[in-house]
Amino acid sequence: MFSYLFSFDSGILTYVSFLITNIAIYAMLGLGLNLQWGFTGLINFGVAGFVAVGAYGTVVLSMRGVPLPIAMMVGGLLAAIFGLGLGIATLRLREDYLAIVTIGAAELVRLVINNESLVDGKPGAIGINGFPLPLANFRPDIFTRYGMVLLLTGVFGLALWKLGDWGRRRLGSVRESKNKVWLTAVTGVGALVLVRADVVVTMAMLNFRDNQVVNGLLFCSVLMAALVFLLVETLVRSPWGRVLKAIREDEEVAKALGKNVFSYKLQSLMIGGFITGIAGAFYAWQQSNVYPDNFKSDLTFNVWILMVLGGAGSNPGVAIGAAIFWIYTTLTRDLSKLFPMIPTSQIDAFRMVFIGLLLIGLMVWRPQGLLGNRAELTLGK
């Protein structure tokens, strides 16, 4: 476990790069869902469907020669349109209808990519591979590599600064010395993880040519996750975001103030869907071949648990939730090495039982998760 934090063994470094990429992708997924559920109160149980639309949209277009950034944007737009269709049917009505319809629609999407042939007349069930990956043929010179390091260090530095700021403010408000020790320890571990991540990405960028596919995706996903984070933070702090929160707390109040609640909900579902679709493109690139089985409902609930755990309604919380989720996944993956006699399907089932129980427990005892604001989430209840 400590080797992930301190070792400079090249195998470990590659694995940590892989972890950082995954955390970035799942953080994007969580941020998209957080806009829908955390800020607007929309129950989207079809995250896997949005991811599939974004992933397949991007992959199929890029295989037909569309440049990757454009293909990715179109994939995101398709996911947003998918959200538009589901929203029009359900968002005027009771809140549970969206939940029901998204479950069915995600399953339908999975059936379509399984049964239809989308590329070269090959059956969908065998999946798609050999599609273009970002920066796979990129040969950066030394200055470009330093530029990339600078950009990513900027991202992690900003996170570190925010963490320090948060720690200092909380430390000022906490009185008991026991809590002070805890807070210092948590901030310290967070800082250590961020510094380690920065060291790993720096080494990866400087030795970009060692593994162009992995390093290229690492660069793009961290940068995109940071952009998405800034986008949603700006959105939820704007007047538009405050209307969303008002709708989450009490729809009638927002209506009485003359806001078109249906339209705001639809926008939130679509923008959240767009972000999920973009994350879907990265999800496909990260797998480097996509199968219909990658888009089962387990994916949806993994994203739900990381969002609820980190703190619905808090974007930094969701990012931390994504990190915790992947640390948990890594540890339980090592578990299967310890017990090789248990088949992996049983271990996966065990993981999902735990996730289900955790979801129930959090909703019962701590609906605000780690970083959410309880007073805000349970106003008047």
């Binding site: 049917a89 359900t90 009505l93 939940a99 089932a349 039982v353 289900g356 979801l359 129930i360």
Partner: protein, 310 residues
């Protein structure tokens, strides 16, 4: 034509199971104000418990009764530790939905943990298939329909003629009004769970007669079941029966469309404009048919065909 009748007959036997399950869902939805997303997995639990008792060498019918009792017991257990305390805390309906999906995940994956992910069969004597002028009807379908009619008859009697049933309808209409007229609401809640979980467990066990027992069997029923409930008016058990039969028959007729139309189906499939609609009418996309009906209902008649309680 023969194929069309065959599809309708298939729809009737699937519809009987869905009707029982949809009644159960509409009762908890309308009376307890709980949209229970773990409902499908309660059905799966019923099927697997029947499988378990059956594997002990018990007769299948005895196994189904025992399994139904166990599902009722499990539902009352979740009521005790979860739903009762959530109701006292006036939890919002969206929180309840997320709790129920957590329960669904836990149940489904516990089943995989204990029984494995592969499909299994009850230990039955090979049942014969009757051939009525070209229409093939498995003997089990008759059993399923007969049991469904009996269960629905019993439910009708409970709801209309017993004190508990009348109290349940009163609570469904207005819980506060029911309470001030002196109805023991807690007792009604328990009875609702008993009836609802009983029907769910039975429906799940019966589904195992028609198809292989597998961990996802109930989860994939969630959308058609909710669609039936909404089509029939939430909280209206008779509406749920009608809704379930409409959806089940539509699904089976759609699934059999390529055989019904024969060569015409292939011709229509070649028309790229019609392709999505024609392609949807196939066994590959049963859930798509339920989804389309659900969306149409939400767009044009969201209050359902019959008067609901919500």
């Amino acid at each position: 034509m023969e194929q069309l009748i065959q599809s309708v007959v298939n729809g009737l036997s699937l519809g009987s199971i869905m009707a029982l399950s949809a009644i159960a869902l509409t009762l908890t939805y309308g009376i307890l104000r709980l949209s229970n997303f773990a409902h499908g997995d309660f059905m799966t639990l019923g099927a697997y418990l029947t499988l378990l008792f059956n594997s002990f060498g018990l007769n299948i019918w005895v196994a189904m009764v025992l399994s139904t009792l166990c599902v009722i017991g499990f539902a009352l257990f979740t009521e005790q530790i979860l739903w009762a305390r959530m109701r006292r805390g006036r939890t919002t309906s969206t929180t309840l939905i997320i709790i129920s999906i957590g329960l669904a995940l836990t149940l489904r994956n516990s089943i995989i943990l204990f029984w494995g992910a592969g499909p299994q069969n009850y230990d039955l004597r090979i049942s014969e298939t009757l051939n009525i002028s070209g229409i093939r009807v498995p003997f089990n379908s008759f059993v399923v329909m007969g049991m469904a009619i009996a269960a629905i008859g019993l439910l009708h009697w409970v709801l209309q003629y017993t004190k508990v049933g009348k109290a349940m309808r009163a609570v469904a209409d207005d819980i506060d009004l029911a309470r001030v007229t002196g109805i023991d609401v807690d007792r009604v809640v328990v009875w609702t769970w008993v009836l609802s979980a009983g029907l769910t467990g039975l429906a799940g066990s019966m589904l195992g007669l028609l198809e292989k027992v597998n961990p996802n069997m109930g989860w994939f029923m969630i959308l058609p079941l909710f669609a039936s409930v909404i089509l029939g008016g939430i909280g209206n058990p008779y509406g749920a029966i009608v809704g379930a039969f409409i959806i089940a028959i539509a699904q089976e007729v759609g699934a059999g469309m390529s055989q019904t139309l024969g060569p015409l189906y292939v011709t229509l499939l070649k028309n790229s404009f019609l392709y999505p609609i024609v392609r949807l009418m196939s066994a590959d996309y049963k859930i798509g048919i339920a989804l389309v009906i659900m969306v149409l209902v939400l767009l044009f008649k969201p209050q359902g065909l019959f008067r609901g309680t919500m």
